[in-house]
Every structure is written in structure tokens, then in C-alpha cells.
Symmetry: C2
Subunit: 156 residues, 2 copies
């Protein structure tokens, strides 16, 4: 069990501090994206799905879930909302009819250009140096790997 000196006035144990940190940061990130994305008619999770599809079109629901760590119970309704906005379409895989492939429509492809200013706006809002970006990426990656290992040993 790890013990750390606390910043002045902060009465939580470090592990709680960090879980509050991550909870609050996640929230703050969503707040910065929200006004940018609402102009495009997207929510933040919908935007993440679109990013993954812009990287590679025609992925299955399962592949999207793997990338984003989301279950079909979350993705299926989310994708149907994207479909009803005309950004994607859904098609059963010909070779394996269990799989549903998500295809970008012309409007979905075009949206990438309309959204091209978003990453720059967000990067600016982040206010971190390149070194701090790298440091944070490394730390969060390490944390996630440790948490994943815990989850797996728990499941075993």
C-alpha cells in the first residue's frame, strides 16, 4: 500500500486523489469538446467513434468496441443515432453474417474536414508542452496497463 505526502489542505489519500483527478479531468475534457462538437451535431463519444472510422472505414461493431472499450449495448444505439444523422450506414458482413460493418456515408466522410479545426482548438486548451504531453501519455498508459492487469487477474 502506497503512502504519499498530501498537498496542503487536501485531506484525501493519494489513491483517492488520483481517482478524483482522473474523474475531474475526464469531465473537464468533455466540457471543452462539447461546445466545439455541438456545432457539428456530435457528442464526445460519437466524435470518438467518428475518429476511429476516419482512420479506418468499414469496421465492425466489435472492432469499434475493442478500440474504444465499449460494449455493443453502448455502441449499437450510438451508431444508430449516427445513422439517423446520415453519417454512417450499417451492413451485415457478407462473409460472416454475425458481424455488422459500419460504413461512412459521403456526409460522414465530409464531416472530417468540417471537424478539422477541433484538434487544434483542444490542443491549445490543453496548455501543455510537448514534453508534458509525452509524460502524461506515458503515465496514463502505464496506469492503464496496471489497471488492466489487475482486472485480468481478478477475472482469472
Amino acid at each position: 500500500m502506497v503512502d504519499v505526502k498530501l498537498p496542503d489542505g487536501f485531506r484525501l489519500r493519494p489513491e483517492s486523489m488520483l481517482c478524483f483527478d482522473i474523474y475531474a479531468t475526464h469531465h473537464a475534457v468533455g466540457q471543452v469538446y462539447q461546445p466545439l462538437l455541438s456545432k457539428l451535431g456530435l457528442t464526445y463519444p460519437q466524435y470518438l467513434v467518428m475518429i476511429v472510422l476516419w482512420e479506418q472505414d468499414r469496421q465492425t461493431v466489435g472492432q469499434l468496441g475493442e478500440r474504444l472499450d465499449l460494449a455493443s449495448s453502448t455502441l449499437t444505439p450510438l451508431i444508430k443515432r449516427l445513422e439517423s444523422q446520415g453519417l454512417v450506414s450499417r451492413k451485415r458482413d457478407a462473409a460472416d453474417e454475425r458481424k455488422v460493418r459500419v460504413l461512412l456515408t459521403p456526409a460522414g466522410i465530409a464531416l472530417e474536414q468540417e471537424a478539422s479545426h477541433v484538434p487544434g482548438c483542444v490542443a491549445e486548451a490543453f496548455g501543455l508542452s510537448v514534453e508534458q504531453f509525452a509524460q502524461m501519455h506515458s503515465l496514463l498508459g502505464q496506469l492503464r496497463r496496471a489497471l488492466k492487469a489487475q482486472g485480468d487477474s481478478e477475472a482469472a
Copy 2:
């Protein structure tokens, strides 16, 4: 399961990487807490509310929302669920009847002991050194301040 895989060839800009990182880490943290907390009959957001109340009893809904960055539309039903479990009660402030104070019941107070193993379990799962804890706390704090400043200037 708990990790978002970004395989080789998955090319994201750093700011996008970081937003994926935070999204995924937030999710992974929740996954580690979930099995520990379900034995106590709590969800992760409910646990955060209880932590804040264990620090200081009889806070108003607004104070809890300030601490956790949550609106009354989220907190009111959450607190009512805690109330229906007998962990807290709700009482209008005598001096200002607009305010609702949330009071720990004896069961709510006792739950702190039952939950005392949780922070240690999670800290272990985090798998970070003391220095890394401090580094992450510092970086996340800096990021949050920058994001909050951005949100404020946006609102102005």
C-alpha cells in the same frame, strides 16, 4: 476489456491521443472500483459522494456538486438512491430553506469502516511509484486548470 488498444499504425495526433488516454483511463479506473464497490452496494459516483460526506457531514447539494463538479440534475437522483439505501438523509436548511443538507445516517457512517479496504486495493492496482503519483497529480491538475480557464474564457 479494460484497456483501449492503439495498435501500431493507429495514427492519432498527440492531443487526440491524450483525450483517448483520459477517456480510457477514466473508464479503466471505474472498472477496478466496480467489483470492490458492488459488494458494498455502491456505484463509483455514489462512492465519491460518500467520500466527500465522510470528510465532512451535512454538506448541501450545492457543496457536493462543487466538489465533484456535478449538477443537481445528476446529484438529486443519486442522493435519493443513497437515501433509499438508508445511508443518508436529506433535510432542508433551517436558516435557508432553499438549501438541502445531506446527512450521514448511522449506517452511512458505519460504511466508512466497511469500505476501508478499498483505497488500499485500488492503490495497489494503480501500480505507480510515489513519484509517479505526484507527477500524475501535478500534470492532471495543471491540465484541468488550463481546461477550466479555456471554458471560462469561452463563456465570457
